[in-house]
């Protein structure tokens, strides 16, 4: 080669910039967590017993914090699948319908057949995989725009779920299946464990293999990924299938929780919660970089707002407005440009005084 004097070294700035950099590096993680903490504190101000956890019968822990984790589990699960789908530049509007389908499948099978509960659960998850596969095929092979492709299943899916339950709430009584929704381990409701397990598994799948990077690559620039030899079709199929599985597990939880499949209402508008959680967590809807754990934080934020509204004593008429205002506040807090507006004003003030 040529004579190799060290290449141009980027000059490093004095300390204040380093501080800025550390801040900006961790900004993505800092602000959602900060928002969650603020909301929890807000809830504590509304209800003095918010942080209190008492022990109920059969050792069940009862308290608002447990509620948030337990009730947040469905959103957490959906948000995980949705994060991957969004990272691959897609979106999955059908998760609500998939919840209904899988719940219906499980409830009908358990109440009308003698299949063992584990098999029923497996079949329900299989239904979720099928749904994901269908979405994936439409998006990856038929090249239909994700929002429309999944809209089709969103419409059809709820119809299918109603078809399975014939529009009734199919109730059942089976301890094993009920355990999925209401079981206890060490006083904690089982859905909490379920969501932790799924988060861990997906995390492992994504980070101990190359799949995470490949998803980000496909989502950020699918043409360049194509040139680099990445099989985008498979990646897209995979993310929709994972989303389908997450929705299926959510469907099982929701169904087991009320010991019945409510095809009409199970998971209704849940897709919006999931998308919101992903975005609050910092993953861009335009695909690319994703932040799995932050999506979980996002889901918990949404559930904390919801629980806060329940305990606030405010008339239900105000629910939506409160939600909108809190969510906007969080997004503003996260927006660098918004913060700059204030830091700028503050700096000016300080300079004047």
């Amino acid at each position: 080669m040529l004579e190799t004097k060290t290449a141009v070294e980027p000059t490093t700035a004095p300390t204040p910039f380093n501080l800025m950099q550390t801040l900006s590096r961790n900004r993505r993680f800092l602000f959602p967590v900060l928002a969650l903490i603020l909301i929890l504190i807000g809830n504590r101000l509304i209800s003095p017993t918010f942080f209190t956890i008492r022990v109920g019968p059969d050792g069940r822990l009862i308290g608002s914090l447990i509620d948030i984790l337990n009730r947040g589990a469905p959103t957490v699960l959906l948000a995980i699948g949705m994060t991957l789908v969004i990272a691959a530049k897609g979106i999955d509007l059908s998760v609500g319908a998939v919840i209904a389908i899988c719940g219906a499948v499980a409830a009908v099978l358990i109440s009308t057949t003698t299949l063992p509960p584990l098999l029923v659960i497996a079949i329900a998850i299989g239904a979720g995989i099928l749904c994901g596969l269908w979405n994936g095929i439409l998006v990856a092979l038929f090249d239909i725009q994700p929002i429309v492709a999944t809209l089709i299943l969103m419409v059809i899916g709820r119809g299918i779920a109603q078809l399975i339950t014939e529009g009734q709430i199919t109730t059942f009584s089976n301890e094993s299946l009920e355990f999925v929704g209401t079981g206890l381990i060490g006083g904690f409701p089982f859905p909490i464990f379920l969501s932790v397990i799924v988060v861990a598994l997906v995390w492992l799948l994504i980070r101990s293999t190359a799949i995470g990077m490949l998803i980000e690559s496909v989502g950020a620039n699918d043409r360049a990924s194509f040139y680099a030899g990445i099989d985008a079709t498979k990646i897209k199929l995979l993310v929709y299938i994972i989303s389908g599985i997450c929705a299926a597990i959510t469907g099982l939880i929701i169904t087991a929780d009320i010991k019945g499949a409510d095809a009409n209402n199970a998971g209704l508008w849940k897709e919006l919660d999931a998308i919101l959680a992903v975005v609050i967590g910092g993953t861009a809807l335009t695909g690319g970089r994703f932040y799995l754990i932050m999506s979980v934080v996002g889901a918990l934020i949404i559930q904390s707002i919801q629980t806060g509204i329940y305990i606030s004593g405010l008339p239900p008429t105000f629910n939506l407005i409160v939600q909108a205002v809190v969510i906007l506040a969080i997004l503003f807090l996260q927006s660098e440009d918004f913060r700059r507006l204030f830091t700028g004003a503050w700096a000016k003030l300080r300079r004047q005084s």
Binding site: S47, T49, F50, G56, P57, D58, R60, I62, G63, S64, I66, D67, R71, Q162, E166, G167, Q168, I169, T171, T182, I254, D257, I258, K259, G260, D262, N264, N265, A266, L268, T307, I309, Y310, I311, G313, P315, P316, T317, N319
Partner: protein
């Protein structure tokens, strides 16, 4: 329109249903369909999917097809004037079922309905008698879908009734969206955020929410119907079972069997009879001791 004898055979009737948001609604739809079949009526069914505009479009389609009569289960009370006028112009009689409409009564032949406010009052009155001997009774309300007329009316009726009994207070009210999991979630958060022993009764705008709430109570170690009294509306089969099991106290019947009276009214009308402006389907209440008989009656018949 045809001149008809008293059987409905050969009539084509369009039925614009609101949607399929609950088990009760499905019962109602099924009852409408099976009753039509029994009477030999050709029923054109349209599911409005919770949207008034879809229902209006359905009515317009029925008019364009030239059906003999239209039955409308309006999702909301207002906004039907123009399309009802169109039907009148096309000389197609319209019958309103379930919820009411604000349109000029001359635009429809009659309304077959139950009264949501009355249901709320019944529930309130029952609670007042059940707690007559208590010094105070704090009620939590499981509100239906915000802005829907059954929720608004049942809340109003209940509030009217308990206003006469100062010892009864609503201490919390949240929307469970008429769903089971909604009811369970809201009840759960009530139980976590307040001392359960301060709650005397729960009033749910429908049975599904109550069933969810009962599960929440059981999980929190509270005995429903004993520690906390319950009253709700609909009298679905699942709720009757709860009554039989002693997990609930009372439910107000909202009958899904409105098709028969409705078809009969149309046949009468086409035959030239005068109709009363409102045909009420009887309301009733079921308790722990009367539920079993009703359930047997339903599943048997």
């Amino acid at each position: 329109a045809h001149a008809q004898d008293s059987s409905g055979a050969g009539l084509t009737i369009g039925f614009a249903q609101t949607g399929s948001e609950s088990g009760w609604r499905t019962d109602f739809t099924n009852a409408m369909m099976s009753e039509a079949e029994a009477m030999g009526i050709n029923l054109l069914f349209s599911d409005g999917q919770q949207k008034q505009e879809n229902q209006i479009a359905a009515l317009r389609s029925f008019i364009a097809q030239g059906v003999d009569a239209i039955i409308l289960a309006p999702i909301v009370e207002t906004g039907w004037d123009d399309v009802l006028q169109e039907a009148a112009d096309a000389e197609i009689p319209v019958l309103i079922i379930d919820r009411g409409v604000t349109a000029d009564p001359s635009l429809y032949i009659t309304r077959v309905a139950s009264d949501f406010v009355y249901e709320g009052r019944l529930a309130g009155a029952w609670l007042a008698t059940a707690t007559a001997d208590r010094a105070s009774c704090n009620v939590v309300e499981l509100y239906g879908t915000v802005g829907s007329s059954p929720a608004i009316d049942r809340a109003t009726g209940f509030a009217d009734a308990i206003a006469l009994f100062p010892q009864i207070q609503i201490i919390a009210s949240q929307s469970g969206d008429f769903t089971r999991s909604g009811g369970k979630t809201v009840m759960e958060s009530f139980l976590s955020s307040m001392d359960p022993s301060t709650i005397c009764a729960v009033f749910a705008h429908n049975d599904d929410m109550l069933i969810g709430a009962i599960q929440a109570m059981e999980e929190a170690g509270i005995t429903p119907a004993v520690d906390i009294l319950t009253v709700s509306v609909d009298a679905t089969n699942d709720e009757l079972q709860m009554l039989i099991d002693g997990k609930a106290n009372a439910t107000v019947l909202l009958s899904p069997y409105m098709g028969g009276p409705a078809y009969q009214a149309i046949i009468d009308y086409l035959g030239g009879a005068e109709l009363p402006p409102l045909i009420m389907v009887p309301s009733a209440m079921y308790f722990q001791d009367t539920a079993a008989a009703e359930l047997a009656n339903r599943t048997g018949g």
